[in-house]
Symmetry: C2
Subunit: 198 residues, 2 copies
């Protein structure tokens, strides 16, 4: 006996998701079988809607169901600052903090010669276009502290600075609440390098 | 900014699945956003179909898209043996082995006074009914080796044996390939208790 076709197909769909292997897919598929019908219908509808209703904001590249997105359209936002991130999830992280009130720009990746990702593969040209009127006075580069993230930050800084716009980079150092004993060398180096007077 | 409604709803649906928290749900939902449309539609359809097309076999209680199920309807199967399991996934495990050719019966749980599961909550009455003609000669009880699984096995054995039907229980002992050093005491006890002459 194989699994009946409907459940085998659902398992197959689950295994296409990242981090879900055959055993987890089976467990999830059987769980769906026991879920109430309304929840399953809602789940199926949510899958369809995500593909149908979400696009990328034509201004900042963030995911959105309106164009321009809620942030770009919000008159309360400080239009003099743009925070440049790799990924739409990073936007959500910064906005949870509720202390940044400027705009965002999503690159959808980082420069990576190894993976063949060049500037033309990222959402960079629209960023340069946004900088052409004089509204934006500071570009805060918030790519991750990886080799690729650093290279992308350097590239953007060299591209934008000549236009007379302030370019800043997020501070790197010890995480709040972390233990120096367990910090890696690169983090300690950055923490010393970026020390501030008390 | 919150996440746009379509992606927030999909995250919410993912968190309803077992073992998927808020962070994993966000990662999966964003992954769906990047999946090709055909795969997503197939996924949504598979969810709907599982609820719509699958039922429980009226004979053995296994999940199926035909009634009776493929096993119960298969004329090649040995109709003198019934293997009693807790869960439809256990049926799939035994059938992957390809060495058991009898029938199955799915209890959909085990007796558990703590959780208020009594004999009337399990698929036991249909099993007794299946035993009433003289076709079935052996009932192999394959509930898990937990306290509840053992209690269920004992209960079924007392119920079925008086009818003159052979009742057996799966062997318990060391797993094939396992190391005695790491075996738990209960497993070692069962391995000694169940020793066989060479």
């Amino acid at each position: 006996m194989q699994y009946p076709a409907p459940i085998a197909k659902l398992m197959n769909s689950f295994t296409k998701l990242p981090g879900i292997g055959a055993k987890t897919a089976a467990r999830l598929a059987f769980y769906v079988l026991e879920m109430n019908e309304a929840d399953v219908t809602e789940f199926a509808q949510a899958l369809i809607n995500v593909k149908r209703d979400l696009t990328y904001c034509s201004v900042c590249g963030n995911i959105t169901d309106t164009d321009p997105c809620m942030v770009c359209a919000d008159p309360q936002r400080d239009r003099s600052q743009v925070l440049v991130v790799e990924d739409p999830r990073d936007v959500a992280s910064f906005d949870r903090m509720q202390e940044y009130h400027g705009l965002y720009h999503v690159l959808h990746g980082v420069l990576s010669p190894l993976e063949g990702t060049g500037p033309e593969d990222l959402n960079i040209a629209p960023l340069i276009k946004r900088l052409q009127d004089d509204t934006i006075q500071e570009v805060i580069i918030a790519t991750n502290a990886t080799a690729e993230g650093e290279a992308t930050a350097t590239y953007l800084s060299r591209l934008i600075k000549p236009a007379g716009i302030k370019v800043t980079r997020l501070a790197h150092g010890l995480s709040v609440g972390s233990d120096i004993e367990y910090a890696d060398e690169m983090t300690l180096f950055r923490a010393i390098e970026g020390r501030r007077e008390l």
